[in-house]
């Protein structure tokens, strides 16, 4: 499968000291919806912004649809539809004016397609952006990104401020657009249940680099959870991380081999992990103090 987003040894350092990310190697295959997950400050936004050319890599190389965004940012932006964490619309402009504005900035912007998505979400085109709720603003941001007809969509935590219904509508529009147009989407989010429904790949960032990069089905198949105290020692290469359940019970996430025989499992092998547990387990494993030395060592 062709990769449309690539990172090769990507590193980004701020103010000469703190490495936000270092040694990141990953690819996002064409036609997938990939979730990018990680704790706050793990560098998700930095990575997404770097793919659109808003951040310059301190080291390593990125590829956006075959283009190096550092060398040709304009071409990279032209290939991408971007939905930022907060869309920051022009408060004094109506939704329809935002669509016209996009058309003045980008050749080939499909105003009618964007208007179609806006209409589906029952957002009035005449409403001023300042009158819209956070969720509606995010929807307008998505419609603008879809209106670009870009084959790559980068979504930087667009679900953060949405209520469950708005999240569901947002993801529905996204999935439909991606599947029907053959786009590729990278969605950064903390909301695991939504990711499970919408995405087919999962990348977990932590410790300044990639902790996990698998399809959702692989991620579920390759992990198990042991509840309570661990009876027998777990080999270090199998142990991922420990974390409490919502009820406060101790849980441990372990890796299982690809050819794992379920019929021979005993209680010590634990139960199948949910996607949330897979993500939290890896995040817990990656939660060390992000000192420059620690990140350096991890890289």
């Amino acid at each position: 499968m062709t990769a449309v987003l690539e990172a090769h040894g990507f590193g980004k350092r701020y103010r000469r000291r703190t490495w936000a990310l270092r040694g990141v190697d990953l690819t996002v295959p064409e036609g997938t919806i990939t979730a990018l997950v990680g704790p706050n400050g793990s560098g998700k936004s930095t990575l997404i912004r770097a793919w659109i050319g808003f951040e310059r890599p301190t080291e390593g190389r990125l590829v956006t649809g075959g283009v190096d965004p550092r060398k040709d940012r304009g071409a990279a932006v032209g290939l991408v539809g971007y939905v930022p964490q907060s869309p920051s619309l022009y408060g004094g402009l109506s939704v329809a004016e935002h669509l016209r504005l996009a058309a003045t900035l980008r050749d080939g912007f499909d105003v009618s397609l964007a208007a179609h998505y806006i209409d589906r979400l029952s957002i009035p085109l005449t409403a001023l952006a300042s009158e819209l709720s956070g969720g509606e603003q995010a929807q307008v941001g998505l419609a603008l990104a879809l209106g670009t007809r870009a084959r790559i969509l980068l979504l930087d935590e667009p679900l953060a401020s949405l209520d469950p219904l708005a999240r569901r509508e947002f993801l529905h529009v996204l999935v439909e657009a991606v599947r029907s147009e053959g786009h590729t989407a990278l969605l950064s989010s903390h909301v695991i249940t939504d990711i499970e429904q919408a995405c087919d790949r999962l990348i977990v960032l932590g410790k300044g680099h990639t902790l996990l990069d698998l399809s959702i089905s692989e991620a579920l198949a390759h992990h198990r959870v042991i509840e309570g105290p661990i009876a027998t020692p777990i080999p270090p290469d199998r142990l991922v991380g420990s974390f409490p359940s919502a009820a406060g019970e101790g849980l441990t996430l372990v890796r299982v081999p690809v050819a794992h025989d379920v019929s021979t499992e005993g209680p010590a092998d634990g139960r199948p992990a949910t996607l949330e547990e897979v993500v939290i387990g890896h995040m817990a494993a990656g939660r060390v103090r992000r000192t420059p030395a620690a990140v350096e060592a991890a890289a």
Binding site: V80, P87, S88, Y90, G92, L93, R100, L101, L105
Partner: protein
Amino acid sequence: MILTATRLTYRINRFEIRAVLLAAALSVAVSALVVSWINSSGYVACINVYDTPSLKCLELMDIGRWATRIASLSLNLVPVFPFLAGLLLGTPVIARELDRGTARLAWSLGPSRMRWFVQRTSPMLVVAVVASFAIGFVAEWLVALFTPDVDLANSFAAFHQRGVLIATGAFLVTSVAVGLGAIVGRTIPTLLLALVLGGAGMLAIGEVDHKLLAAEAVPLSDSGGGNDLQLDSRFQLPDGRLVTWEELMIIDPHAMESEFGIQYPWVALGIPGTRYREVETREALIEVAFGLAFLGLGAFVVGRRRPG
């Protein structure tokens, strides 16, 4: 597409644009009313008449004084207008968009940041220049009314308070605010910095211009006429040399001791009024050049910076 972009820029910055256009329109309207009244009432014949005013002039005196005061106020505000208009129109163009994050949206939609930059700055610059030009034009009109004997095309009367220099001054300040806004990326700090640097810049340009003019100064024949731009004065020695007071004291230490005062003729140095248009054009070009430099700086920074 250009019209749509212009209209949207107007919508985005409508408060600032309306404020500047309203101020300009108000100033033009008030000045036009004053000029119209002065001309239609016959008060124009009473201006600059000090000896024996006619009966009609005496009748119109009270209203005339008010009209003159309003006109003077309007003229006094003229040099301030380009500064205020430039700050108001130039600051939000880039700084506010970076501050509020709308630049990030625009830059993610449009592959060319230069297109965005031109779309945003051009209408603001046009408004600044047109509004200031109107103010400068009306100021010239008022000056002409109150100095009917002066040929303003050949006179430094109300220098820097009329004509095209008001428009180029506004262009300069707007460009400074745009350029600084791209660097600073915050509205209020940009406004304050543009206030300081714009003011200092205009003073610096004025100082440089004064030095340039001083180097070109010639003895003035019409020093009392008000048409020339007097910059300095010298004493003329019998051999025709022009010397300063200090030089004169070295050459003739007893010059002050004569009972009739200094016997050397005093000569005013400056630029003859006939060079007004040339000097005005040169100064306007300097302001435009500096303005373009700041716009270039703004465009360069916009092309390279993070969207905030």
